[in-house]
Amino acid sequence: MNFSQYLVDAFGSLTSNKLRSSLTILGIVIGVAAVVSMLAIGQGAENSISNSINNIGTNLLFISSGGGPGVRVTNPKPLLLSDVTVLSDPSQAPDVEYVTGVLNIRGDVSANGQDTSTSVVGVSPNYAVMRNLTVAEGEFITSDNINTRSAVAVIGTDVATNLFNRTDNIVGQTIRVQNQLFKVIGVLESKGGGGFGSQDNQVLVPITTAQSRLARRANRNQVDQILISAASSSQVQAAETEVTQILRSRHHLADNAQADFYILSQSDILSSASSITGTLTVFLGGIGGISLVVGGIGIMNIMLVTVTERTREIGLRKALGARKRDIRAQFLIESLLLSMLGGAIGVLLAWVISNLIAQISEANGTPITPSISLNAVLLATFFSAGVGCFFGLYPANRAANLEPVEALRAE
């Protein structure tokens, strides 16, 4: 007996009991749709998170004073603007391309009688290149602004909308930060949302101006953070080593002493975020997998009923010369057909679900684009075939091992 004959037979027996077959298939449809769409959502979340991390710049190192997460350091030395100057020196740190100090300042910003709560950040001109920021109108902070400590600001589009109800024709307006007047010299191009603190909701001022007028720090020279970018991704490691050496010697640390600053690289953030989303994906896929197993048990159940119902038919086929493997193949192909049909419909359903979720998440302002990868589809196909085989084998073997005499006489 050849394969197409088995297939025709299996199809015939499935269509002869349409309601039962479609309910059995439904179990697999739900299982496969769950696995594929869960994996797609996990993948989509991972993509959108890594996108927003990549959005903050390229090959960045974030240096902060103190011991880093979970490490206590007593009396850490602050980071200073003079550290920034030294790190900018190519002869001392050849793998470092750009450096900027960063000062984070609290305070409401107002204009036109409108108030908005936002973050005010003191930065140097390099900041624009390092964080991939471009100005939509006007210009970014210049070295002149730095040298003269000018009261100027570059604002994000959210701030512009909140204060002026528009995003263009804003250059030349004045805003108040901590009740001091700043002239708007530029508006940043919108970068869109992203979990990492919207870059559209910030006010950038020259770091020197921030130090002298806005920040109340013990040391006027102090910066909160130093941001460094390496010239290329292969130089990130070398840059980190150079920065560590320079800061250790400037802080007069002994060779074995705990560093009183810590360096976080962009790739560290990326890898820890993707390990979280990876876990999430596995977790979601696992939940889907459970429903697939339940669907498989449904197949086994129905196939056992089918074998019992068709005992006489099995006996007859054996009397007419069917070998064990003919009977086994017949029932195995029937359960495979059930599970593969379910798998195919399940992938289609997953596609519909993913698109639905994409639209819902976009409507809610946190766009996740679920991506159904070829891998997920192949996985689901193999998995549903595997489920069909695994849960079909026992009923098929039971059918194959029936004694012809007893099967023929069965009622």
């Binding site: 007996m1 006489r312 054996k318 009397a319 007419l320 010369g321 069917a322 070998r323 012809p404 023929l408």
Partner: protein, 238 residues
């Protein structure tokens, strides 16, 4: 070849010696056959009679290679049966035995044509050849115009004709009929018997018919009487 049996060589289709079949029902051993020895010649028409429980069905199961004897020798058309495994038995049934059952045993979802094709699919006959042979087998039993009907659309007599076509289509050495007219009215029953006997006359098919009906047994060349698992002379069983 089985030892001890060397009779008329090519002329006998069935050579059985001392067939014993014992079932275990719980602790009790049931002797369904207690040493049956029989020979059936090629082209012979033989009927087996006996009260229920006499072992007719068991004997038929063994002759049809559906079951193996507990002991004894059985040679079917030159092949020693008792040592074969399940798959070899399936192959023997497929090539050498045609079954006709009391309750027809057709596949309900398949057409008459597909039902007749079934033994050939297990024999590995190609689709085109299969179809053609099934058609001529159905024509031979007078069902040329019913080939695409399903069993539910056929009368009992017509269903049994399909079953006979199915039994003959692989050109078996022997056709075993278990009460072939038992579920039919007397007119259809008569037609079915005519059909079976015609296949014997025209193709020389060896027929073994199990029956309760003395009228049917009267149409066969030889009647075997079975009682309590043993062949007995005619007077004792009647």
């Amino acid at each position: 070849m089985g030892e001890g049996i060397k009779m008329d060589g090519n002329h006998s289709v069935i050579q059985a010696k001392d067939l014993v079949k014992t079932y275990k029902m719980g602790e009790v051993e049931v002797h369904a056959l207690c040493g049956v020895t029989l020979t059936i010649q090629r082209g012979e028409v033989v009927s087996i009679m006996g009260p229920s429980g006499s072992g007719k069905s068991t004997l038929l199961d063994i002759l049809g290679c559906l079951d193996l004897p507990s002991s004894g020798d059985y040679i079917l058309d030159g092949e020693t049966v008792e040592k074969l495994n399940d798959d070899q038995l399936a192959s023997i049934r497929n090539r050498k035995v045609g079954f006709v059952f009391q309750s027809f045993n057709l596949l309900p979802r398949s057409t008459a044509l597909s039902n007749v094709e079934l033994p050939m699919t297990y024999a590995g006959v190609s689709g085109k050849d299969r179809r053609q042979r099934a058609r001529s087998a159905l024509e031979a039993v007078g069902l040329a115009d019913r080939m695409d009907h399903k069993p539910t659309e056929l009368s009992g007599g017509q269903q049994q004709r399909v079953a006979i076509a199915r039994a003959l289509v692989n050109n078996p050495a022997i056709v075993l009929a278990d009460e072939p007219t038992g579920n039919l009215d007397s007119k259809s029953g008569k037609e079915i018997m005519e059909l079976l006997l015609k296949s014997n006359q025209e193709r020389g098919t060896t027929l073994v018919i199990v029956t309760h009906d003395p009228n049917i047994a009267a149409q066969t060349q030889r009647v075997l009487h079975l009682s309590d698992g043993e062949l007995v002379p005619a007077e004792v069983s009647t």
